[in-house]
């Protein structure tokens, strides 16, 4: 008798736990993944230093102001990454550059997730002709390599930070449309959607409240990896002169100007690239970890 009550209690408390902690469960699994935690740690350091950039170095005085007498100065204790071709502290420029990269990366992915996600959800939920039309258009976009599409858009609209975010955002729309459509297709047929329909919920409400939250997992994974891709694209476009324009500090733009001084100053080229690599690495590690944590079935 007592044991069965205890058992019951145990079951209810387990259920309670399960209900309360879907995200806590994901977090628990993620925390066990050392590589993902390394990635998350690096990202937190990056975000904190990007946020506190004004405390580390003054924008006008250190990041922009030229000091030609000390140009291309080698790394020293005072300037740990040395100085660039205009005598500006490279460490300060990299920290300020983190702001640009992270903002462009996140906003660009936001644009693609929102527009691609909406298109994918509509296509998957309604199906039929609408689905065919939307997905065929997405196929056409997929036939253009994303970097080329971004190059074409920026070269037509002109280089600016806003256009850069739009260009990169648009170039990744089809990816999210496909992912969201696929998950919506599998969710659409489930019973709780039928139940929501039966009690008279509108399509809009069903998509927003019932379908999107359940289709979120693959989008989060792809979004994390997508920020990495967007940061790489930003750096690449800036490198060929189509992204962030000098003197604003951006990692790819810094590499672009450093090319001319490759023979004389190794540090000008080395550090901005290391910054990009570490950021991408961190996002990739976290993205891979999230994939395993959100869908443990995928992990063998």
């Amino acid at each position: 008798m007592t044991s069965s009550i205890a058992e019951k209690r145990d079951i209810t408390s387990k259920n309670k736990n399960k209900k309360r902690s879907q995200w806590a469960e994901v977090w628990r699994r993620l925390r066990k993944n050392k590589m993902a935690m390394v990635g998350l740690g690096i990202l937190i350091i990056l975000i904190v230093s990007a946020l506190s950039a004004p405390l580390i170095a003054d924008y006008e005085d250190v990041v922009i102001k030229q000091d030609l007498i000390n140009k291309l100065e080698e790394p020293s204790l005072e300037h740990i990454f040395g100085k660039d071709e205009f005598g500006r502290d490279i460490f300060a420029r990299i920290i300020w550059g983190a702001r640009v990269s992270l903002v462009v990366g996140i906003v660009a992915v936001g644009i693609s997730v929102i527009s691609g996600g909406t298109l994918g959800a509509v296509a998957g939920y309604y199906g039929g002709k609408l689905d065919t039309v939307i997905m065929r258009i997405m196929d056409i976009f997929l036939a253009i390599p994303s970097i080329l599409l971004a190059i074409a858009i920026v070269s037509a609209l002109g280089p600016s930070i806003i256009n850069l975010m739009i260009a990169i955002g648009i170039s990744y729309v089809p990816t999210y449309a496909r992912i969201v459509r696929a998950s919506v297709l599998s969710i659409r047929e489930q019973e709780f959607i039928e139940a929501a329909k039966a009690i008279g919920a509108s399509d809009f409400r069903i998509i927003l409240r019932h379908i999107i939250p359940n289709a979120l997992a693959p989008v989060i994974v792809q979004g994390t990896l997508g920020v990495a891709g967007a940061i790489l694209s930003t750096a690449g476009l800036s490198f060929i002169g189509l992204g962030i324009q000098p003197p604003a500090p951006e990692w790819g733009a810094m590499l672009s100007t450093s090319r001319a001084y490759l023979r004389y100053a190794w540090h000008v080229t080395t550090f901005p690239g290391v910054a990009i690599m570490i950021t991408i690495l961190a996002l990739n590690l976290l993205g891979d970890g999230l994939r395993d944590a959100l869908d443990p079935r995928l992990k063998q």
Partner: protein
């Protein structure tokens, strides 16, 4: 099978029309009057008007688009604003350079990726496996144009073994090809490893081992053949991707390919060249993807049998 190929080729037509339409529409947002650009700032307005009419710039958008497609089908992409030469001829002169670079790059990627992936999978969790997985992770995280700069720094500036940039002799392809191929090598390594790991767990591998087939033969004959099927797709897709994405590598090494032509054209606001290069590269990309699909159907008997009916 022929029916399948024919069907895929037919499906390519609307995709390519769509691709050209998107690129054409995007490029039409470019500010500035093409007629003015050709004649120069100081040209008299009536001359500009005349040329506008002659070029059909006053026609409705769709008319202009279909004229562009019609001309493009005959290999006429117009003339460059800058050099006044035929854009198509210019692209075709540059394309072999991009193609060679891409082929060498993908060859390097395959030569590294497949063996390393196999060793990683057969010796899972060994030191060798960890090293190659970390290497692959770094490979996908590195911006390739930066890798190019670092290679120049090490091998041209530091050691002086290889040319700095440009297109002089066979040795000048080494650094650009490594630069372009590294990302693909990393992806191929990962793909080979995971595909191999999956195959090794299959029943027929256990059967082969149980009946006493030598481990070497199990890996090389029974596992590898099956594991390589998805790898072939990845290699093909990477090839298409590199062909289109060679833009940055070509810029770093001043490699005279289509990608660099595109970047120069953008800087000089040479819209016909930009439009034609993007359309050309996207078309090539689509064709490569189609070839990969067909090849995939050929190497995988399971898919082949689906279409042979």
């Amino acid at each position: 099978m022929h029916k399948y190929i024919f069907k895929r080729l037919l499906l390519l037509i609307p995709v390519l029309l769509g691709v050209t339409f998107i690129v054409f529409t995007i490029m039409s947002f470019t500010p500035g009057d093409p007629a003015q650009l050709i004649l120069g700032e100081s040209a008299p307005p009536e001359k500009v008007e005349e040329l506008r009419a002659e070029m059909g710039l006053d026609d409705p958008f769709l008319v202009q688009y279909f004229r562009f497609v019609g001309n493009a089908l005959r290999g006429d992409f117009g003339r460059s604003y800058r050099t006044k030469r035929e854009v198509f001829a210019e692209i075709f002169a540059r394309f072999p350079n991009t193609l060679i670079l891409t082929i060498v790059a993908i060859a390097i990627a395959v030569a590294i990726g497949i063996p390393v992936g196999i060793i990683s999978a057969t010796k899972q969790y060994s030191l060798m496996d960890s090293i190659s997985m970390v290497g692959a992770l770094l490979g996908v995280s590195m911006p390739n144009f930066w890798l190019g700069l670092m290679l120049i720094l090490a091998f041209s500036v530091g050691l002086g073994w290889l040319p700095f940039a440009g297109f002089e002799g066979a040795s000048s392809i080494i650094l650009p090809a490594i630069t372009l191929g590294t990302g693909a090598a990393a992806i191929i390594t990962r793909m080979t490893r995971s595909s191999m790991l999956e195959v090794i767990r299959q029943d027929y591998i256990r059967t082969a081992r149980a009946k006493g087939v030598a481990e070497k033969k199990v890996v090389n004959k029974h596992a590898l053949k099956n594991a390589l099927i998805p790898v072939i797709t990845v290699v093909g897709l990477q090839f298409g991707y590199l062909l289109g994405g060679a833009v940055l590598t070509e810029t770093v090494f001043s490699w005279p390919g289509v990608g660099r032509l595109l970047v120069e054209a953008i800087k000089q606001k040479d819209t016909p060249t930009v439009l034609a290069s993007v359309v050309f590269m996207a078309t090539t990309f689509s064709f490569v993807n189609l070839l990969v699909d067909i090849l995939y159907a050929y190497v995988d008997p399971r898919i082949k049998s689906q279409y042979s009916k």
